[in-house]
């Protein structure tokens, strides 16, 4: 799990660069609350050896902090960390047994409990850190207003790529996420198919609507770079405990998460859909695992027999 933390370093650096020293405080509280919650539950409630040194709580803490805005009160971050580990992970029996991505459980709890602070987005420091909408927030009503009316408000693709836009701490810089993701693939720690099929199906889905009505819908590249798509595809959907075991199962999972993200973004009540899309697919993992099995040796012969 420590390798995942290493892979998150570029996104860490990007978040502090773009959102300033307060980002550091949010990250620190996120990580500490997760690690302490895990240690506390293991030591005092389960009376078991403390396993925080496996690095998994650190990853949860980082990912949780990456998924929330920089302006959030720190105590809320601590509550989110407590929920992520306490309910998202330990209540299910600890590492390996949790069906949902703990960081996303924490985030979902925070979005429903602290709705306003969780959407109080700040622009990066270069824009004086003032309150501002995220790209997805800007296009939320594009279907009625038309894309051309809001075009001037949207950031350029280059800014979206490097992360010079409003949004959650760690989700804005596609470049930083990509660096970490490539590291994980090179180390053989994640299956490249997950991010590729996730983003690919999101692009395909949004691309169809854009192709039909470009004046009402943003283009697929925008959707891939905006919001939590990159962070979700590379770091949340690839979480091994909460994704399927077989290669084909992971493809189904990734495509499902990509499509759901598209559906929520275009038709849902709120602009961001990645975390709910992944949570829904998390819930389907047992079904995917029982129906989609790995390819057997001499699979062809099995079919002949049947």
């Amino acid at each position: 799990m420590w390798a995942v933390s290493i892979a998150l370093i570029p996104a860490f650096v990007a978040s502090v660069t773009f959102f300033g020293p307060r980002a550091l405080a949010v990250l620190a509280v996120g990580v500490l609350s997760c690690v302490l919650t895990e240690a506390f539950i293991q030591a005092f409630m389960l009376k078991k050896p403390v396993s925080v040194s496996d690095g998994s709580a650190v990853v949860t803490g980082l990912l949780l902090a990456f998924n929330i805005p920089v302006s959030i009160p720190l105590w809320m971050v601590a509550v989110g960390g407590f929920v992520a580990i306490g309910i998202g992970k330990m209540a299910f029996g600890g590492i390996g047994n949790n069906p949902f991505n703990p960081a996303l459980v924490g985030r979902a709890f925070m979005t429903t409990s602290f709705a306003a602070p969780m959407t109080n987005w700040r622009l990066p420091l270069v824009f004086d850190g003032s309150t501002g909408a995220t790209p997805l927030g800007i296009i939320e009503n594009a279907a009625s207003t038309g894309m051309s009316a809001i075009q001037s408000e949207l950031p350029g693709y280059f800014d979206m790529f490097i992360g010079n836009i409003g949004g959650s701490l760690g989700e804005t810089s596609a470049l930083a996420i990509l660096l970490g993701g490539i590291f994980l693939i090179a180390r053989g720690l994640i299956d490249w198919r997950t991010p590729v099929f996730f983003l690919g199906s999101l692009a395909a889905f949004t691309g169809i609507f854009w192709g039909i009505a470009p004046e009402s819908y943003a283009d697929p590249l925008f959707h891939v770079l905006a919001g939590g798509a990159m962070l979700g595809a590379w770091f949340m959907a690839t979480d091994m405990t909460t994704s399927p075991m077989s290669r084909n199962g992971r493809i189904v999972f990734a495509v499902g998460a990509g499509l759901l993200t598209g559906v929520i973004r275009l038709f849902g009540a709120f602009p961001g859909g990645v975390s709910y899309a992944i949570l829904i697919m998390n819930a389907l993992v047992p079904a995917i695992d029982s129906h989609i099995r790995p390819k057997r040796f001499a699979q062809g012969a099995l079919h002949e027999k049947a």
């Binding site: 590492i95 390996g96 399927p244 075991m245 077989s246 099995r293 040796f297 001499a298 099995l302």
Partner: protein, 444 residues
């Protein structure tokens, strides 16, 4: 791109530290203990009794059933008793104890090193002779070789696959045999090709043995039917189905034998033993055994008379290192830890490996973190994590439904599991249960 099998597999460090050690005959011990069940199938029935004089190469126990193998004395001397001895798994088996006197061979056995190339026997006679010589698969499984060459009605073979892969780390017995007895081995391959009644024989060798690939490619040029296939290194390439896939591209279906796709597979050691029996009348009474380990002072490849104790082999390789935590019969992946070093070398003993203490401790078993590593390394496309779960919960039907019996016990899953879970141990239990239940169903 050299060939290999397409799915699963691992790359353990190959640690072939005895690769340069030439095959040397091990001194004949004062006593040998020859088990009657050294093969898969029914143990042979002893035809000697205490006090009988025997010569090396003399038949001392006969096949007892269709799948069984003859046993010959590996030494000359007097039968001391017929009594129990432990096998590498610790089970008691009957064995013939012989006190060694001199080294006299039974009549008709040609112990000279003259190469005899010309094959005079026909198919049936060869298979009969292989059976008489008590020859079994020498790669470890010890399946009676003659049985493989009795092709079931309705099936035809077209390719003989010879296993020179030796994909287990540490082991070098086959490698040395290919280098030092290439001519004899090739004649053995030719004999097996005739016995199978096919035109083509492919010898598969992994790339970590370039010298053997080169030598056998050169030498096999004079045999029209034999080719050498250089294979990309990957464990478990020596497994029958994986080797056939790598060498011929064919896939043996679940629950079927190689003959289903027109193949038979034998190991290079078996080919050599076949040469010895068919050309020189020498039954299977000795074999090459790799005796090795990181702290062993003289990692060696010995030509050992069957029935010699493990302890004698270890002594000859410089003795048991002080730091030894485990002694393994076979290689580190598929071998068995042995508790008692007085047990005898059998026909299937490919190596004796001494692992230092640090490498012998089992890691602490942690929770399954659902990383999927076991699934992606399984060469058979199984779900080891799930089979383990079913086995722990006695859910034999589910384990059967998820094809537990396809598992060939390569151990890749346990090797790859970051949580140190003993996956294969549980899958073995599941396989045993499923097979018992199938037998019970069949006998109803």
């Amino acid at each position: 791109m050299s060939k290999t099998f397409p799915m699963g597999g691992i790359h353990p460090p190959d640690t072939k530290i005895s690769a340069a050690a030439p095959i040397t005959p091990l001194a004949i011990p004062a006593e040998v203990v020859i088990p009657l069940g050294q093969h898969i199938g029914a143990p042979a029935e002893a035809i000697v009794k205490a006090g009988d004089k025997v010569k090396a190469g003399q038949l001392i126990a006969e096949t007892a059933g269709f799948i069984s193998a003859n046993i010959h004395s590996s030494v000359s001397g007097t039968v001391k008793k017929i009594d129990d001895v432990a096998d590498p798994c610790g089970y008691s088996k009957k064995a013939v104890y012989i006190t060694v006197e001199g080294d006299e061979w039974a009549e008709g056995i040609d112990r000279s090193s003259t190469l005899k190339k010309e094959i005079t026997l026909d198919r049936e006679a060869i298979v009969e002779k292989i059976k008489a010589g008590g020859i079994v698969g020498m790669g470890g499984a010890s399946f009676p070789t003659n049985v493989k060459y009795m092709i079931p009605e309705g099936k035809t073979a077209d390719t003989l696959v010879i296993n020179g892969v030796e994909c287990e780390p540490y082991l070098t017995a086959d490698h040395r045999l290919m280098l030092e007895y290439a001519d004899e081995m090739l004649v053995g391959v030719e004999i097996l090709r005739v016995a199978l009644g096919v035109e083509k024989a492919v010898i598969g060798i992994e790339e970590n043995k370039p010298d053997a690939i080169k030598l056998l490619t050169e030498k096999s040029a004079e045999y029209a039917g034999i080719t050498v296939e250089s294979l990309h290194m990957q464990y478990p390439q020596g497994a029958e189905k994986q080797l056939i896939k790598a060498c011929t591209g064919r896939e043996v279906p679940s629950g079927k034998l190689p003959i289903e796709v027109g193949c038979a597979v034998n190991n290079v050691g078996t080919a050599y033993a076949v040469y010895q029996m068919v050309q020189k009348n020498q039954p299977l009474v000795e074999r090459v055994v790799t005796v090795t380990g990181k702290q062993v002072s003289k990692p060696s490849n010995f030509l050992v008379r069957i029935g010699t104790s493990y302890a004698a082999c270890i002594e000859a390789a410089g003795g048991l290192p002080e730091d030894t935590g485990k002694v393994i019969s076979g290689g580190p992946m598929m071998g068995m830890a042995v508790a008692d070093l007085s047990i005898p070398v059998a026909k299937g003993t490919s190596g004796i490996l001494m692992l230092p203490k640090a490498e012998s401790v089992r890691p602490e078993v942690e929770h399954c973190i659902r990383c999927g590593a076991c699934v992606s390394v399984c060469p058979m496309g199984l779900e080891p994590y799930l089979l383990e779960k079913f086995a722990r919960a006695d859910k034999w039907d589910q384990a059967e439904q998820r094809a537990a019996t396809d598992c060939m016990e390569c151990g890749c899953c346990s090797y790859a599991c970051p949580s140190g879970r003993p996956l294969l141990d549980y899958i073995r239990i599941a396989k045993g249960e499923i097979n018992n239940r199938r037998r019970a169903r069949a006998s109803q």
